[in-house]
């Protein structure tokens, strides 16, 4: 009888090794795996003096003057797209919301809801991207949260960012400041983000089309320093430029008249919107501004925008008029006016 090793049963353990290359439910349970994830994957990239203690809350130094707070959740799919990813988007959304309120961004919180089974490499990539975006903006994440939900409960990863900013003194922005005669500007080409996402989702490729996701607080800073009389600022995300303007009209009495031929479009964006039959007025942007400025200060405002790398294609696109219709009216390419009404939900492309 042979007593060689080949006659012995090989040892095997019936329990599988824990998957280290995917997120599992235990990563969200607050125990060992959770802490390991936070230290190795999150703190390693995002760490700073406020975040490092990993307390339940971050103790922050007092900030002088009024504070602005905002929150944004990013649920975009696909996670990675030409021009950016969900991580960058999450950071930029909060930064930009603070900026258009006239605040300097100071601190962010970061909450993840992760789907069981999410690849660790994907999470790492997103966290790296968040780290770079934060560094670019010079704003720290000071507190966070990580939850893991069963497969199918979310689409891979949802991110919430809440931001706190310090209100700039002497800045007053809002619908209450808007008057007939005020002029409407945009800071650059319109529709790039929404078209990029739609195209990526449907595996359509438009050469040169990329999301415009960017932090625009520097651009806002440039604009506000110009001393132009800025009445109102918004970033035209979902709902697009038209959405912002309709919202504005809900809070004031008047009419808005836009010039379609003045709306800046990127070459690729124009092509994509034509092919899909979508109206750029309604498409999301993630690195742009809609500005309402006093008529006398249009040139001053445009000059300051165009001096900034993110505002080179800034343009005047319309004006506010007196009236009681509360319509947004667009002068089309043939010079004929039409009313721009909003779709109930997302704009739909043509069939034929």
């Amino acid at each position: 009888m042979s007593h060689g090793s080949e006659s012995l049963l090989p040892l095997s353990c019936p329990s599988p090794l824990p998957a280290v290359n995917r997120i599992v439910l235990a990563h969200g349970e607050g125990a060992r795996l959770s802490r390991r994830l936070i230290r190795n994957e999150l703190l390693a990239v995002l760490g700073n003096e406020h975040l490092n203690p990993l307390g339940d809350g971050a103790l922050l130094p007092a900030i002088e003057g009024p504070l602005v707070m905002t929150t944004d959740s990013s649920v975009v799919s696909p996670l990675f797209f030409p021009g950016g990813d969900i991580g960058q988007l999450a950071v930029h959304s909060a930064i930009n919301d603070l900026a258009v309120c006239g605040a300097d961004p100071r601190y962010l919180s970061l909450a993840f809801i992760l789907e069981e089974g999410l690849e660790m490499a994907t999470l790492r990539s997103i966290v790296q991207s968040i780290g770079r975006a934060l560094k670019d903006c010079n704003v720290p994440v000071v507190t966070g949260d990580t939850k893991v939900v069963p497969r199918g409960a979310v689409d891979q990863i949802f991110i919430n960012v809440t931001g706190i900013g310090q209100q700039r003194p002497g800045i007053e922005l809002g619908p209450h400041r808007v008057r007939p005669g005020d002029q409407i500007l945009v800071s650059g080409t319109i529709g790039d983000h929404g078209l990029t996402i739609l195209s990526a989702r449907n595996r359509l490729e438009f050469e040169g089309l990329a999301s415009d996701t960017a932090p625009i607080h520097g651009l806002v800073d440039s604009l506000l320093r110009s001393n132009a009389d800025i009445r109102f600022l918004r970033d035209p995300t979902r709902g697009g430029v038209a959405g912002v303007l309709h919202e504005l009209l809900e809070q004031m009495s008047g009419e808005i008249c836009l010039d379609e031929s003045a709306l800046p479009l990127s070459e690729a964006g124009r092509g994509a919107s034509e092919l899909l039959g979508l109206d750029p007025w309604f498409i999301a942007n993630e690195g742009k501004l809609v500005i309402v400025v006093a008529a006398d200060d249009v040139d001053r405002a445009l000059t300051s925008l165009r001096r900034h790398p993110l505002g080179k294609q800034a343009a005047r696109i319309g004006e506010v008029r007196a009236g009681s219709t509360n319509h947004v009216v667009v002068k089309g390419i043939l010079g004929i006016e039409r009313i721009l009404t909003e779709p109930a939900g997302a704009p739909l492309p043509r069939i034929c």
């Binding site: 034509e274 043939l334 009313i339 069939i351």
Partner: protein
């Protein structure tokens, strides 16, 4: 983007408009039969700039709008089945059936997906073999080659989880119905450029001479439409009734032979009901026997029912150019894009929706 700029040139457009005003001496009514053309005409404001003597009415050119209520209900029945992944162009999602719509079915848990192309639905079928993927094949001859390609590929690959709910319609029978209607005031047609890109315009030549009605194959940009209208007006003033091709940069007399061959292999012509028009003989497509295994109706045993339109909806008259959307008593009141009575108010190509969204003058609205 040269074509885009040339065919939207404001000066050229104005020249054509004044050209039309010069040649039109007596009143004429013409019809366009393409949702895309409806959209451009309204959106660009051309309609309001044409001379009084040239009236443009909108025909049954929106494929969503002419899909009968029964077929919407068939779609809803399929979409509600747990094993089905129902794929559709986005426009169909809010078209009301007799009781509900696809969007509501989706919110109640139905697996309803918006796709841009039937080939996307086919890809889903390849990827998820445990789902029965059904594509709602709506559209005129423009769209049919793509759906034909989808089942042609599915057959070659031996896929058993892909099928079509076929709802394709053909344009010429609709033109025939309108041209042959003694009550119709339509004296000329703009034919849809993209339909003719696929099938050519031989059928239209026959129509023009048989019914003694001028037809101009026309594109979609503002200058295309103005050129087409100018050519039509000229024929009417000269008493001619010929087929002319304004969209010559794209459309050839024979159309696209490869697309036509594919259509002939996959589909055959059949009688078909149109919303608002009733049954038009030889006006629809159905899968040939060789491709019947991909027909969702037979696969899932959908019998189809006769559903009644809400009586207030006048889409039948609108689709035949007998009623302008603005003149419909429900327009902007009971019927809005948020609360549509019928398809023409939902679809982005529908005349009612186009008028609601873009015309300056409109009646007092309940809610904008």
């Amino acid at each position: 983007m040269k074509h885009l700029d040339e065919y939207r040139d404001a000066r050229l457009a104005k020249r054509l408009l004044s050209g039309i005003a010069k040649i039109v001496r007596s009143p004429h009514t013409v019809m366009e039969v393409c949702g895309g053309q409806t959209h451009t005409l309204v959106r660009s404001g051309i309609l309001d700039q044409l001379p009084e003597n040239l009236k443009v009415v909108h025909g049954p050119g929106c494929p969503v709008c002419v899909t009968p209520m029964e077929e919407i209900d068939e779609a809803l029945e399929l979409a509600a089945r747990p094993e089905v992944r129902f794929c559709s162009f986005g426009d169909m999602l809010r078209v009301p059936g007799s009781r509900t719509d696809l969007s509501t079915i989706r919110s109640q848990g139905g697996d309803v997906r918006i796709v841009y192309s039937p080939l996307d639905a086919l890809e889903m079928a390849r990827r998820d073999r445990d789902r029965q993927v059904v594509f709602f094949a709506v559209g005129f001859e423009t769209t049919a080659p793509a759906t034909a390609l989808a089942v042609w590929q599915a057959k070659r690959e031996g896929l058993t989880n892909f099928s079509l709910l076929v709802s394709h319609v053909l344009v010429p029978p609709a033109l025939e119905r309108i041209a042959g209607n003694p009550n119709s005031k339509v004296q000329g047609f703009l034919a849809a450029g993209h339909v003719c890109t696929v099938v050519g315009f031989e059928d239209y030549e026959t129509l023009a001479s048989h019914y003694r009605i001028p037809i101009v194959v026309t594109g979609f940009e503002p200058v295309d439409l103005l050129q087409g209208l100018w050519m039509l007006a000229r024929q009417l003033e000269q008493g001619r009734y010929e087929l002319e091709n304004q969209y010559a940069r794209v459309v050839r007399r024979n159309g696209n032979m490869r697309a036509r061959d594919l259509l002939a292999e996959v589909y055959e012509v059949c009688d078909r009901p149109w919303r608002g028009l009733g049954i038009l003989p030889r006006s629809g497509l159905r899968l040939t026997a060789a491709y019947r295994e991909f027909d969702a109706r037979s696969k899932f045993g959908i019998t189809g029912s006769v559903s009644a339109e809400p009586t207030e909806c006048r889409s039948g008259d609108v689709l035949q150019g007998l009623l302008s959307p603005i003149d419909c008593p429900s327009f902007g009141l009971a019927c809005t894009p948020d609360t549509p009575l019928g398809a023409p108010m939902v679809s982005s190509e529908g005349a009612c929706a186009a008028y609601f969204h873009h015309r300056r003058q409109r009646r007092e609205l309940a809610v904008v």
